[in-house]
């Protein structure tokens, strides 16, 4: 296990470097001189040249990548063009908000998905199965930014039960786990949870149906084990895969919440990205994407390790 751990982490390093390279290239593929991404357009010529030398933009591309990487590893993601603040200062608070939203959405999606998928897999072919499959297909096919708008129309505009946008009084800085703030989290969470709900339902339905058909379940039934007992055995066998799917979904939601955050003006990385795109603030765009992608790489690694630890059947080579 120890060697597996080392090898798996070692395998992650080239991936992380390559992800860094793709993020570095984002500024290069942007139309125009990359220097425009660093200095304001009205800067005098000699200042531009000075900055060009300071940032090493007069050097060949591989050298530039090396210099950029050195800075990133030290936690320097550059400065925002729009606000002039270091990218990390805005990003750190936004990441927390996105994580909160993505975690609650994947938790909700996981619970609903396990319930629906478990029922569908156990009673395969029944009306329950068909209903669960329909809900799952709906969950993965719905444009979630639109679902968010529909929920706002119903629960904010028509019923006036829940707030339509923001993160509560005082914004995200004064966040507390009280109702005043929690109610701002409800609609974005429900909106974002439909995707993991659909995917977890499909996965769990498949595994449960497969496990139920295996001989050991028949044997357990044969020896007179109660429904509850059989259920526990099925859960134990289905858990590693279901948890792995949920772990990956958390990563997808961290990166994919941009549309939902835009709909609800949720102060996370999605809103940050949206503003960066709108203002063509490339350092913010690059830094945010780099951090989110790295989060995804690490999460992938953790899911892999967790799955191997939980399920001894998975080979470690």
């Amino acid at each position: 296990m120890f060697f597996y751990l080392i090898r798996r982490i070692a395998y992650g390093i080239p991936i992380a470097l390559a992800v860094g390279f793709v993020c570095f290239m984002l500024v290069q593929i942007a139309p125009g001189d990359p220097i425009n991404a660093i200095v304001p357009p009205d800067a005098p010529g000699d200042v531009v040249e000075q900055v060009r030398r300071d940032y090493g933009l007069d050097k060949p591309l591989p050298v530039q990548f090396g210099l950029w990487l050195m800075k990133v590893v030290q936690g320097d993601l550059g400065r925002s063009l729009a606000s002039g603040r270091p990218v990390w200062s805005d990003l750190s608070s936004a990441i927390g908000n996105t994580l909160m939203l993505a975690a609650s959405a994947s938790l909700l999606g996981f619970i609903l998905g396990c319930a629906l998928g478990g029922l569908a897999g156990t009673f395969r072919g029944s009306w329950l199965d068909r209903a669960a499959v329909t809900i799952a297909v709906g969950g993965v096919s719905v444009p979630h930014y639109w679902l968010g708008m529909v929920l706002v129309v119903i629960f904010s505009v028509q019923l006036n039960w829940l707030p339509a946008m923001g993160a509560g009084p005082g914004g995200s800085a004064d966040w507390a786990w009280g109702w005043e703030h929690m109610k701002h989290l409800i609609l974005p969470t429900v909106t974002l949870s439909v995707i993991p709900m659909g995917i977890v339902t499909r996965t769990v339905r498949g595994i449960v149906a497969e496990i139920m058909n295996q001989e050991f379940v028949t044997a357990l039934r044969g020896k007179g084990l109660t429904r509850r007992g059989v259920f526990l055995h099925v859960v134990k066998n289905a858990a590693p895969t279901a948890l792995a799917v949920m772990g990956l979904q958390l990563g997808y939601l961290m990166g994919g919440s941009i549309l939902v955050e835009t709909v609800f003006s949720w102060p996370g990385t999605g809103l940050l990205l949206n503003n960066a795109i709108f203002q063509r603030d490339l350092p913010v765009l690059q830094g945010t994407i780099l951090v989110l992608a790295m989060f995804f790489v690490i999460l992938n690694l953790l899911v892999d390790l967790m799955q191997t630890a939980l399920d001894p059947r998975i080979k470690r080579n």
Binding site: I15, A18, V137, S141, W146, M149, V153, G256, I277
Partner: protein, 304 residues
């Protein structure tokens, strides 16, 4: 001597027979697929809905009651059911039904083109990686791994965000998002086919690599890759409209479902049900593509 002259002709005859049988059995295969699809009411229904939508957006200029760009300040945001404006009007007083019909053109184009491009490029690279193996496989698959390290929405937003708004940039970004998963599927099925007996037989009978890939490999891998690609159309429609929703795809005043949803966002307090109409179009299209793809998968007996 006699052996060496008869052997190739015998092998040729055998090959010709095989090819004919393959052709016959493939005709039988498609007949079987069609028979299974016909018995699947959900797939037939969804395919009909998609066909109707396609006809409606292709002939939008003939059936649309108004001009998609002609607005009017005095009839902004009329409700659904207004005489002459059945689905109401948008924030600039343009007829919603007309704009939804015209908007479908760009939404469908931006949703399907990336998958079609990725299908071609991903199949070529994936079959190459699977058939060649060795270093070629390593090179292609490791690059693919890097793109897998990004959540798909993030990658699409990153690329089109860096390139700037525009239809072509959005299509380019989405194509790059869909190439890696298609490469993976193509590589897996090709590796599975490569070592089967009939490919060995073809190789032993002296067929060159190009012929083997064209006749024996592609014939067996295109089906599964195609079915997988159709399952991506649904996601692609959502993402393409999503990019426009973020202001990264189409630019106003061009009608496009995602962009219409974005500009109508401020109208949800005035005409909520008119404002959510474009999203309903995206939803219906996306769910129909998903169900048709599921039906195809079952009818073509593709695993996975």
């Amino acid at each position: 001597m006699a052996n060496s002259t008869t052997a190739p002709s015998a092998a040729e005859a055998e090959l010709a027979l095989q090819a004919r049988q393959a052709a016959e059995s493939s005709a039988g295969y498609w007949a079987g697929v069609w028979k299974r699809v016909r018995r699947d009411p959900v797939t037939i229904f969804c395919a009909s809905v998609l066909l109707l939508m396609l006809l409606a957006i292709v002939f939008a200029s003939l059936i649309a009651p108004h001009d998609p760009y002609q607005g009017s300040m005095i009839r902004r945001l009329r409700p659904i059911g207004t005489p002459n404006y059945i689905l109401g009007t948008d924030e600039l007083g343009r007829d919603m039904l007309t704009r939804l019909l015209y908007g479908g053109r760009l939404s469908w184009f931006m949703g399907i083109t990336p998958v079609a491009l990725a299908f071609v490029i991903g199949t070529v690279l994936g079959v190459l990686a699977g058939y060649a193996g060795g270093k070629t496989n390593m090179a292609i698959m490791r690059v693919t791994d890097v793109f897998y390290a990004f959540p798909s929405v993030l990658l699409a937003v990153a690329i089109s965000g860096a390139l700037g708004a525009g239809i072509m940039n959005a299509i380019l970004a989405l194509t790059l998002v869909f190439i890696p998963p298609i490469i993976r599927v193509a590589e897996t099925v090709t590796t599975g086919v490569r070592n089967l007996d009939f490919v060995d037989a073809a190789r032993a009978s002296g067929a060159n690599a190009f012929t083997i890939v064209r006749v024996h490999v592609l014939g067996n891998v295109l089906g599964p890759i195609f079915v997988y690609a159709t399952s991506l159309i649904s996601v692609s429609m959502i993402l393409a409209s999503g990019l426009s929703f973020l202001g990264l795809g189409t630019k106003p005043p061009e009608p496009e479902w995602g962009l219409m949803l974005n500009t109508l966002r401020t109208a949800i307090y005035v005409q909520p049900w008119v404002a959510v109409l474009p999203g309903a179009c995206i939803f219906v299209t996306s769910i129909c593509f998903n169900l048709v793809s599921d039906g195809l998968r079952q009818a073509m007996d593709v695993k996975g």
